[in-house]
């Protein structure tokens, strides 16, 4: 059987560039319309809840910013590694370790006050994330253990560590064995950035990390070395760029960013250490990184897009009575359609010519 091949376009034509995402959205929307008709939900209410309501008020827009923060932070760190073909799948675990390390300060010093507390928590969280990622880097360098597996498995270990702390030494003594820490004191909470919302200074940090990532990728020699290592490993080796150095750097950066995000989550909207601190931010960040084309600027857009989709999905459940499974189908089909469209913007389908033997 003859299969068509995808051939890279010389250059993407402008009409295709514009038409592709629009077409993708239209196809995904149409497919979901059929689904809503089948399960008897009003499609107008669903689309209103998903795509309009997130932008309908100052507060709901601020919630997009709040949810985009941890996605943006984690994805920027991951993308640097992914460009070097170092696949850190364990951002979730590094996020959890960041949250744990940051919480150590308010848990052990619940009476402490002063403006140093939240910055120290963020720093401790970022270092904790890095340290957790370092375990993966160490085994990859020493034993050539696959970093995908090690980092992923460590995420499950991190959850066990979290639960151990919450059921044991870090349990709130006043909370009847419920697995959460004490509520953090005021100085252990991040200052609010936009008055009247839950958006805090970690959003500024995420944007700062974005700028730093852009400089690292586009302007620094270390970033260049990583990029060459990812694109042409042989060339990198010939040029004398250290493969081990690339592994260490990629994982430490990824862990740092995810740990920072985890710290900002407990010191931000959560306000205590509890078992559900991450809604899978570490895994969603992988989607964000690839959706943004592994480019620091692209990732900003994809983080806000995904954040909007998540919040829209929640809205659809509350306002339009859509079941959770249909929400997931909508989000998944939209992403899938977009990725297919993005492929065809850069590539075209070529059917093989019949050749005579």
């Amino acid at each position: 059987m003859r299969l068509p091949k995808l051939v890279r376009r010389e250059r993407a034509s402008l009409p295709v560039l514009i038409a592709a995402p629009v077409l993708a959205l239209a196809i995904a929307a149409l497919g979901n319309l059929v689904l809503y008709a089948a399960i008897g939900v009003n499609p107008v209410a669903v689309f209103h809840a998903m795509l309009i309501e997130p932008f309908a008020s100052y507060f709901s827009m601020s919630e997009i910013l709040l949810k985009a923060g941890p996605l943006l932070l984690s994805a920027q760190g991951l993308a640097i590694g992914f460009r070097a073909k170092i696949f850190n799948i364990g951002a979730e675990g590094q996020f959890v370790l960041g949250a744990i390390c940051a919480s150590a300060i308010p848990v052990y010093m619940p009476q402490a006050s002063g403006p140093w507390i939240w910055p120290a928590m963020l720093l401790l969280g970022a270092l904790g994330g890095s340290a957790w990622a370092a375990i993966t880097a160490f085994w990859r360098v020493r034993l050539n253990a696959n970093e995908i597996l090690v980092s992923l498995m460590l995420s499950f270990v991190s959850l066990q560590l979290l639960i151990y702390l919450l059921l044991g030494p870090w349990k709130d003594p006043m909370a009847l064995n419920f697995p959460h820490s004490v509520r953090f004191q005021f100085d252990a909470l991040l200052p609010i950035l936009l008055p009247g919302t839950r958006v805090n200074v970690s959003l500024l940090l995420a944007l700062l990390v974005t700028v730093a990532a852009w400089f690292f990728v586009q302007r620094s020699f270390a970033g260049y070395q990583l990029e060459v290592g990812g694109l042409a490993p042989n060339a990198a080796r010939y040029a004398g760029y250290s493969q081990n150095g690339a592994i260490w750097l990629s994982l430490l950066i990824g862990g740092f960013a995810a740990g920072l995000a985890g710290a900002a989550e407990v010191a931000g909207p959560v306000g205590q250490l509890q078992r559900s601190i991450s809604t899978g931010y570490g895994y969603a960040a992988i989607i964000v990184a690839y959706l943004g084309g592994l480019h620091p600027i692209g990732i900003v857009f994809s983080a806000f897009l995904l954040s909007t989709l998540y919040i829209g999905g929640d809205n659809a459940m509350v306002s339009a009575g859509l079941p959770i499974a249909a929400v997931n189908v909508f989000q998944g089909s939209l992403l899938l359609a977009y990725l297919i469209a993005a492929t065809f913007v850069r590539r075209r389908l070529v059917w093989p010519q019949r050749t005579r033997a």
């Binding site: 059921l167 419920f178 609010i192």
Partner: protein
């Protein structure tokens, strides 16, 4: 305790107030003809069985009485954290006046909503905070699991019982303790092993834990607060008896199903909604059992010997009329010290805060 106002939660509260005001502006003004909007938020999907289904069905039953005058909305599978806070705020902004927060993890967010919206009534599952418009509610599962323990001891050949349990919070610990105490009434040497899953809903882990317990010779299993039939179905496959809470799972284990400690929340929800509409709702800790028609044991296995069944019925009648409590001393703690002195009965408050295992539980509490 946790209710003391201070600078931190004043500021947090103030920002929530602003956001609720901002959201509320777009919500249409309520008129007398508008239906009462009741919203249920739960951490797992409303499946065919389990906790979420029990809450949902009870609200549906009440809704059927009210018809057009009540509108029920369900938000399922919501993680206990900042997302849940936003979703509950959104539901209230959209007009919800009666909120059922179906997991202890929603406590802080739900309490903030109650404080900032005095016209909204909040029922919160398994918690310990109370406010004028905020009631925590919990079932006295222990009354049913005590009866199950009697049946389990009669059917166990190995003298070892097992449980796959969600979280080591007092509510679940209490159910397990009563299960063991009931079993010891029939067989004083019986033991219980527990696997703590740290999840309400994890079918794969629940199955693995079931197999592990059976491999350790446990031959009657208690699926404790698992929102999946995994334990019950796996027990059937492995040929051991099992039972669960909230809603019957007999269909998943036609041969080895021991029974179900059913919860029917509709009497409680109906009374609370009536009180809300009449303006007479008063927040208080609701700890409901057999006597309140909230807890009931159904689908008893036909394998239970007739003499044991007669004893079970006798005890059940005693629980229902209040003359018997599973938690009357002497009760020894798992560590060998005295838990409850002879002749003394634990108060509801003591049972709600129970954080120790009785003698006969071989697995230490986590942490």
């Amino acid at each position: 305790m946790t209710n003391t106002p201070n600078r931190r939660n004043f500021i947090a509260g103030a920002s929530v107030a602003t956001m609720v005001a901002a959201l509320g502006a777009q919500a249409r003004a309520a008129t007398a003809d508008d239906p009462l909007i009741v919203t249920l938020i739960i951490p797992s999907p409303v499946a065919d069985v389990g906790w979420g289904l029990a809450l949902f069905e009870a609200l549906e039953t009440v809704n059927a009485d009210y018809g057009e005058a009540m509108q029920l909305s369900v938000v399922e599978n919501i993680y206990e954290g900042p997302d849940a806070d936003r979703i509950m705020n959104k539901a209230v902004a959209d007009g919800t006046k009666f909120l059922v927060a179906g997991s202890f993890g929603y406590q802080n967010g739900a309490m903030q909503i109650a404080r900032r919206n005095p016209d909204v009534t909040v029922l919160h599952a398994s918690g310990f905070m109370v406010a004028p418009n905020f009631s925590p509610f919990a079932a006295q599962y222990s009354q049913g699991t005590y009866l199950m323990g009697m049946a389990a001891a009669a059917l166990s050949k190995t003298g070892k019982l097992g449980s796959v349990s969600a979280f080591a919070i007092p509510e679940l610990i209490t159910s397990l303790n009563a299960f063991v105490l009931g079993a010891q009434r029939i067989n004083p040497d019986i033991e219980l092993s527990i696997v703590w899953l740290n999840s309400w809903f994890d079918p794969a882990k629940a199955q693995e834990a079931t197999a592990a317990l059976v491999a350790q010779d446990c031959d009657v299993l208690f699926s404790n607060a698992q929102d999946t039939p995994s334990v019950v179905a796996k027990a059937e496959e492995l040929g051991v008896y099992s039972f669960n809470l909230n809603s019957s799972m007999k269909d998943y284990a036609p041969n080895t199903y021991l029974g179900c400690v059913l919860t029917d929340w509709s009497p409680f929800f109906r009374a609370s909604i009536e009180a809300h509409l009449a303006g007479s709702f008063e927040g208080q800790s609701a700890f409901l059992g057999v006597g309140d028609a909230v807890v009931r044991v159904v689908d008893w296995s036909a394998d239970i010997p007739a003499d044991i069944m007669a004893q079970i019925m006798e005890v059940e009648a005693g629980i229902a009329d209040g003359s018997f409590s599973p938690f009357t001393g002497p009760i020894m703690k798992a560590d060998g010290s005295e838990g409850v002195a002879a002749g003394v009965t634990m108060t509801d408050a003591e049972v709600i805060g129970m954080d120790w295992h009785v003698q006969g539980v071989t697995t230490p509490l986590p942490g």
